[in-house]
């Protein structure tokens, strides 16, 4: 049998289980070959429908290969490869298996042609990524990991409810543009589940809660896969949904606001994931060809530069053991290579000309412009300034420059630097040759990023953001605080409910369930026991006692006879003989 198409996601998910059996160099080769093979398969795939399985009378499509799923599959598998290079030195099989399963899940979501297949891979994403948080090691990581898992299980249930409802209403599981069902309960449930994974506020607090707690290498996978696979399904099903325009723009600004307040390096970057995904969600909402192309291109570029930024922050975390910006500073002296590579990622996310963000983000902003949405345009541009302010200025300033903390950490292991270099090369390559990316976008691209007006206004925006940064620098000093977010509701807001459970429900339990127990179990059991006891004392005991008593009486009687004196016995024998004689005489 010749396989017409091997599912790259299944390859990763199944292949991951081989790794624990391998050792040393062979294992490291395996870690790289798996995602590389997935990338090659994606690259060689031609559009079509593969892997159709009939299950319970429903057609499940594992391989919907078209231009949209292909471009996402390229970047997911490319990122998996970079992530594995970065994790090559880690001696923890569970992390590698989880990371590859996670990447496989994202590819599964990307190629899923129906909602049920989508749902299965969706849950796989949640479970495998939760493991990467739980393996973070610290106590806080375990707590955050369970919160993360619970939130995603909740999201998964919403999705499942939506799918079942959709199925019962339409009789079809096919996943395509959902616009025809807009406003219905199934449509709403599915949309909310997607928005939860895309970390759209107020459903997005799980992201900055969990990502900074994940392992240094696991976090790289997390930044890329969950939110961007959600962006993919939003493009697929919900392009042109008006509310997404506003949610996206709010997201872009929201992430920036929280980044000002943040002290934890990776949490600051996590808030900027929310901000960047805001551009994509907004692009999906605008829904024109330029906008969805922009959302796709931005997802592609974002995965690479965000991985690079998290790699840089992760390298510092690994080498110094510190996560707070307020405890870093002066690292440029001993980690200049990490700094340089981080800055390439920072320039890419800040949309500096010749870096990847410039050619992708501007597509979404221009789409807002073409639709004459002035407020959206201004919000997105403001968020651009904020992105450069935090990722390009605040974080590197306090991490690498600023007040010298006395830390003299060395550069990270070579494999980490290689992974960062590859990601940095991709960021520059896309920025310099945007056609490399544009030719793979779902719609033909007529957009030209390098116009005079665009370049000069972007440079102006960035340069004067830098001026503002240096003027207001003393107000930006990171403080040792945490910021309230919507995770407050399940971390503190539920405390009264816990009290309610502990007090009221406990009283109910004692009062009602306890009484019920008394009536249903305790009383009948005790009653039966009493009956048995009575029977025991009246019948059995009495029988035993009376047997004993009669034996005693008998022996008492016998005692008088059996005296032990020979003359008594002789006397009795004589009396007996006499009695016998008398009897014989009387009878004769």
């Amino acid at each position: 049998m010749i396989l017409e198409w091997v599912h790259p996601g299944l390859l990763l998910i199944l292949g991951a289980w081989v790794l624990p059996l391998l050792k040393g160099r062979v294992k490291r080769v395996g870690m790289l070959v798996l995602p590389a093979a997935a990338l090659v398969i994606c690259w060689l795939s031609t559009p079509g429908t593969y892997g159709v399985v009939v299950f319970l009378g429903q057609e499940l499509v594992f391989g919907r290969v078209d231009s949209l799923s292909l471009v996402f599959s390229y970047v997911f598998s490319l990122m998996a490869f970079l992530g594995m290079v970065y994790a090559l030195h880690v001696e923890d099989d569970s992390q590698h298996v989880a990371a590859l399963t996670y990447a496989g899940g994202a590819l599964g979501v990307t190629f899923a042609g129906d909602l049920l297949t989508l749902y299965v891979f969706w849950e796989l994403l949640a479970i495998s990524s939760a493991l990467l948080v739980l393996r973070g090691g610290e106590r806080s990581a375990v707590a955050a990991g369970f919160r993360y898992l619970l939130v995603h299980v909740f999201g998964g249930l919403l999705l499942l409810a939506g799918i079942v409802l959709h199925w019962s209403q339409t009789g079809s599981l096919a996943f395509g543009d959902m616009g025809a069902f807009a406003g219905g309960p199934a449509w709403t449930l599915i949309l909310v589940a997607f928005l939860l994974n895309a970390a759209v506020p107020p459903l997005g607090a799980w992201l900055p809660d969990a990502y900074p707690e994940a392992t240094v290498t696991g976090a790289i996978f997390m930044t890329a896969l969950t939110t961007k696979s959600a962006v993919y399904v939003l493009i697929r099903g919900f392009a042109g949904t008006e509310i997404l325009v506003w949610l996206g723009a709010i997201m872009a600004v929201y992430g920036v606001v929280y980044a000002v307040l943040e002290n934890d390096a990776r949490r600051l970057l996590a808030y900027h994931i929310i901000s960047q995904v805001g551009y994509m969600v907004c692009g999906v909402g605008i829904g024109t060809a330029l906008a969805t192309n922009g959302a796709t291109a931005h997802a592609f570029a974002h995965i690479l530069y965000k991985a690079l930024l998290f790699m840089g922050a992760g390298a510092v975390l690994q080498m110094t053991g510190r996560r707070r910006l307020s405890e870093m500073g002066g690292l440029y002296k001993t980690m200049p290579v990490t700094l340089g590579l981080y800055m390439i990622g920072a320039f890419a996310i800040s949309a500096v000309p010749l870096f990847s963000g410039f050619v992708s983000k501007s597509m979404v902003v221009s789409a807002a412009g073409e639709e004459h949405r002035a407020v959206i345009f201004l919000m997105l541009t403001l968020a651009s300034a904020g992105t450069f302010l935090h990722t390009g200025l605040k974080l590197p300033y306090y991490m690498f420059f600023g007040k010298d903390s006395g830390l003299r950490a060395k550069e990270p292991p070579r494999n980490m630097l290689v992974a960062m270099s590859l990601a940095a090369a991709a960021c520059i390559l896309i920025g310099v040759f945007p056609r490399l990316l544009y030719q793979h976008l779902p719609d033909p691209v007529h957009y030209v990023p390098y116009t005079l007006q665009h370049v000069t206004s972007t440079l102006g925006l960035l340069a004067f953001t830098a001026l503002g940064f240096f003027l207001l620098l003393k107000h930006l000093d990171p403080e040792r605080t945490v910021s309230l977010d919507t995770d407050w509701f399940y971390r503190r807001g539920l405390a009264p409910l816990v009290n309610l459970v502990a007090r009221r429900l406990a009283r109910l339990e004692y009062g009602f369930v306890g009484e019920l127990y008394e009536f249903v179990i305790r009383r009948p059991v005790l009653g039966a026991a009493k009956l048995f006891r009575k029977f025991d004392s009246l019948v059995i005991d009495a029988a035993a006692v009376s047997v004993g008593r009669s034996t005693r009486t008998l022996s008492q009687r016998l005692k008088t006879v059996v005296s032990g004196h020979t003359q008594h016995y002789g006397l009795i024998m004589a009396a007996g003989l006499l009695a016998l004689l008398a009897l014989a005489m009387l009878a004769l």
């Binding site: 200049p336 700094l339 412009g369 004459h372 201004l378 300034a385 000069t456 440079l459 960035l462 605080t481």
Partner: protein, 87 residues
């Protein structure tokens, strides 16, 4: 001692670096004002984009607004002690 250390730890060179930064700002702002009159590439979507040095202006305003407003919201409402969730 690497390249960055040589640049940043010598006050003379740091001062020079700062001056170059200001020159860069001026060049960028001027380019934004002047170049559209010489070349007519790219068309703005909104009237406010035609303001002189729009990008520079909006960048400065955005940066200041983000810092001030975020810190204000943070101080009044959002920022809590680090052990807030542990207690």
């Amino acid at each position: 001692m690497n390249f960055l250390q040589r640049q940043l730890e010598d006050p003379v060179r740091l001062g020079r670096l700062r001056r170059w930064f200001y020159v860069g700002l001026a060049v960028v702002a001027l380019a934004e004002i002047v170049l559209p009159f010489i070349f007519h590439g790219g068309h703005p979507h909104f009237s406010f984009e035609s303001l002189p040095a729009w990008g520079s202006l909006y960048g400065l305003i955005s940066c200041a607004a983000i810092i001030v407003v975020s810190k204000l919201i943070g101080k009044v409402w959002l920022m809590r002690r680090e052990d807030y969730y542990d207690s």
